[in-house]
């Protein structure tokens, strides 16, 4: 390695305050918004937001939402989201958001205030060992002990968050470090000897993948969030069309491939389409791209895609072989790997396989009974999709409405669908929509929400109003915690315990109301009262094999058969 790259390039040699270093570091990283909640430790830093205007501070009503807004911003823009909170409870309130970002590989940098280095460990007022608490849910974390270290640490934090498999990085900032002074000197690029992510796939492995595609009779592409992080959508489309390979995506992969494309099978997994799950059961080559064989996708993993040779393309070596052994592992960035692969893959047609897949689609379509009152949630989402279409960025909370959104919304571009996948955080969607609305002002940010989730975070309505963020809440209100209610319906003999959220509904005419929501400037809540007895189907009961999914709403069968036993989780 040349010595030139390592030599620090002084940007300004005279000493400046820690707060100033933080502000300039954020500027240098191109940060436009920072989502935060203040505290006494941050005073000198907060003061800079009054004096300067390059970075806009959005004052949230709860720190958890600051993290989710940063996530929404990152997921919608593909850049690093930033949040800033004070020590102690400010920091601990972030933990759910940090964990959410960790599970879904979202690049955020969390700046937390900390008591002075001399006080650390003394159980001081508003002290919490946030680095210790978040050790297993951050990609990396720092407790900065000297102001001199600040420029390097902040540069590394952003670099680590956005490169490799992205993820949250936490920087804990003691008060004396913020108040202290140091020179603002950083190298052109960070050089971290323990962190050199592999981005280019091994050529020999890529050749093997190309050969496997040429040989396969019944291949399937199984695409996850990694394809979106890597901006691999164009290469993915090219591969699927060139080699005539049907595509199914995970919840986080929605948007990586156009939902309405003739090769699209929609989402797979627990609430995926029956035809996607059956096609995976029948495939002889499974090409996993930026996906991690999560239990909500595979069901009983020993019975998942048993006939298939497995290709696993992922930037994170630990994702490969963790849940399912790969026959051809390829470590690398999804876009770069697919780009190389596309050079080797020859055009091919698979009329028999395509015909088989079309038959599965025809035999097991997504189904619901249309009715006007109460409104069916699926109908509501279909209508929203028709009205808002590709103008919208959709975020969701967690539960039934989330699954219906993934099933019924017609996604046309990457980063159009923003949802909490791995952690399944209720209350994610509304603050994420605020972040997304700021990241993509030309789009319409719509949170498809459930009434249970929305009530966890609705204080952020004040934030949306204060900053005039035109975020829409499309509330599918079934007066209950619908997904838990669904499990009680199917597995607990309809004993509905602690899932009722009794509120008085206002009936609305659906389509005119959606139009009004879209046309009205500023924040808007559309309260759509939907049928609480509607369940999400298909459904693979937890721990069951995907081939044993409940395809249609047949509750009697579910209760009388082997599925009446309560699943593991």
């Amino acid at each position: 390695m040349s010595t030139r790259a390592k030599r620090p390039i002084p940007i300004k040699s005279s000493k400046i305050s820690g707060a100033e270093i933080i502000y300039r570091s954020l500027e240098r990283e191109g940060v436009k918004y920072i989502f935060g909640h203040p505290g006494a430790i941050l005073l000198t830093l907060l003061d800079l937001f009054l004096k300067r205007s390059q970075i806009r501070h959005i004052l949230t009503r709860h720190e958890q939402c600051a993290a989710h807004m940063a996530e929404g911003y990152a997921r919608a823009s593909g850049t690093v989201g930033v949040c800033l909170v004070t020590s102690g409870p400010g920091a601990t309130n972030l933990i759910t958001g940090i964990t959410d970002a960790y599970m879904d590989s979202i690049p955020i940098v969390c700046l937390t205030g900390q008591v002075s280095t001399a006080m650390v460990g003394n159980d001081a007022f508003q002290e919490a060992d946030i680095v210790g608490m978040t050790r297993t849910v951050t990609k990396h974390s720092y407790l900065v002990k000297k102001t001199d270290d600040l420029p390097r640490v902040l540069q590394e934090a952003f670099y680590i968050a956005r490169t490799g498999r992205p993820g949250p990085v936490l920087v804990d900032l003691p008060k004396d470090v913020i108040l202290g002074e140091a020179a603002f000197e950083v190298p052109e690029e960070p050089d971290i000897r323990g962190y050199k992510p592999t981005t280019r796939g091994h050529p020999r492995q890529i050749e093997r993948v190309a050969a496997a595609i040429a040989e396969a009779k019944q291949p399937i592409l199984y695409v996850g969030g990694g394809a979106i992080h890597a901006e691999a959508h164009a290469e993915l489309l090219k591969l699927a069309e060139t080699a005539d390979i049907p595509v199914t995506f995970t919840l986080l992969g929605a948007g990586s491939f156009p939902s309405a494309h003739e090769l699209s099978l929609g989402m797979l997994g627990m609430h995926g389409t029956a035809y996607a799950n059956y096609a995976v059961c029948e495939c002889d080559l499974l090409l996993a791209v930026g996906a991690r064989f999560d239990d909500r996708v595979t069901g009983k993993v020993s019975e998942f895609a048993t006939r298939a040779k497995v290709v696993h393309i992922d930037i994170d070596p630990t994702a490969i072989g963790k849940n399912k052994q790969a026959d051809i592992p390829v470590v690398g960035d999804a876009r770069l790997v697919l780009h190389e692969l596309n050079k080797l893959v020859k055009a091919q047609k698979r009329p028999l396989w395509r015909k088989r897949v079309e038959k599965l689609k025809a035999d097991f379509p997504l189904l619901f009974d249309s009715q006007s009152s109460p409104i069916k949630p699926q109908e509501a989402i279909l209508t929203l999709s028709q009205e808002a279409g590709d103008r919208a960025i959709i975020t969701t909370e967690v539960g039934q409405h989330q699954m219906w959104a993934a099933q019924y919304y017609n996604f046309t571009f990457p980063r159009q669908f923003i949802s909490s996948g791995g952690l399944g955080t209720m209350g994610f969607g509304f603050p994420a929509a605020i972040g997304a609305a700021l990241a993509r002002p030309e789009k319409l940010a719509i949170d498809i929400a459930g009434d249970g989730s929305f009530q966890m975070v609705m204080q952020e309505l004040a934030t949306a109003m204060q900053y005039g963020v035109p975020v829409k809440v499309f509330l599918l209100n079934n007066y209950s915690l619908g997904m838990v209610r669904q499990w009680q319906d199917l597995f607990m003999d309809r004993r509905f315990s602690e899932v009722g959220l009794e509120v008085s509904p206002d009936y609305v005419e659906l389509r005119p109301a959606i139009r009004k929501m879209i046309e009205t400037p500023g924040p808007f809540i559309l309260d759509v009262v939907v049928d609480p007895d509607e369940l999400v189907f298909p459904m693979v009961p937890a721990g069951a094999a995907t081939k044993d999914m409940i395809v249609r709403d047949d509750r009697k069968r579910a209760l009388s058969g082997k599925l009446s036993a309560l699943p593991d989780n």
């Binding site: 297993t136 407790l143 971290i192 000897r193 630990t318």
Partner: protein, 175 residues
């Protein structure tokens, strides 16, 4: 994967070069507890490069678990290098201090064992002997077994240290 599956299997020694920085050992330990892996023994010390520490840990699992452990360790930002220390290709040693009951009439016998094992007496009292022994797993286990009838009162073990045989070294450059 059940905890039994994770924690069963043969024992393996892994050497890890890490940044010699505050909190790094906690990151390694957190990784093991969060993912349900066992640590049978652990030793840490600074290397010839003062910015680098070497962790030698002994864990158990089948090949799949071990592969995950190696990958997960490599994934830590502060990890510089991870290497499997295969028994046949490495020198592995552990040091143990043993305090054993040693009334006068039994001392000669204990001293004989100490001599055969090339251990050393490092402390002596009217009722006890404290012995220092260095060796691999087998030697230390055999030594303890022979001392057991005399009454082992206390032991302290350092955890294993291991180096590759021959000229091969673990360089602090990530592969």
């Amino acid at each position: 994967m059940s905890p039994e599956e994770k924690n069963g299997g043969p024992s393996h020694t892994i050497a890890v070069l890490v940044e010699n920085k505050f909190g790094v050992l906690a990151k390694v330990a957190s990784l093991f507890s969060a993912r349900g892996y066992n640590i049978d023994s652990l030793s840490v010390g600074v290397t010839q490069d003062p910015t680098v520490s070497r962790i030698t840990l002994v864990t158990r699992g089948d090949e799949r678990v071990l592969e995950q452990i190696r990958k997960q360790l490599s994934k830590l930002i502060d990890t510089i290098k991870v290497m499997d220390m295969v028994k046949e290709e490495t020198v592995q040693r552990e040091m143990m201090l043993v305090k054993v009951s040693a009334p006068r009439r039994e001392r000669a016998e204990i001293l004989q064992i100490v001599e055969v094992f090339r251990a050393r007496i490092v402390d002596l009292s009217a009722e006890t002997l404290t012995i220092e022994i260095t060796g691999d797993d087998g030697k230390i286990a055999a030594f303890l077994e022979l001392l057991a009838p005399f009454g082992v009162k206390e032991i302290a073990r350092t955890g294993k240290a291991a180096l590759s045989r021959g000229p091969r070294t673990l360089k602090s450059v990530k592969s």
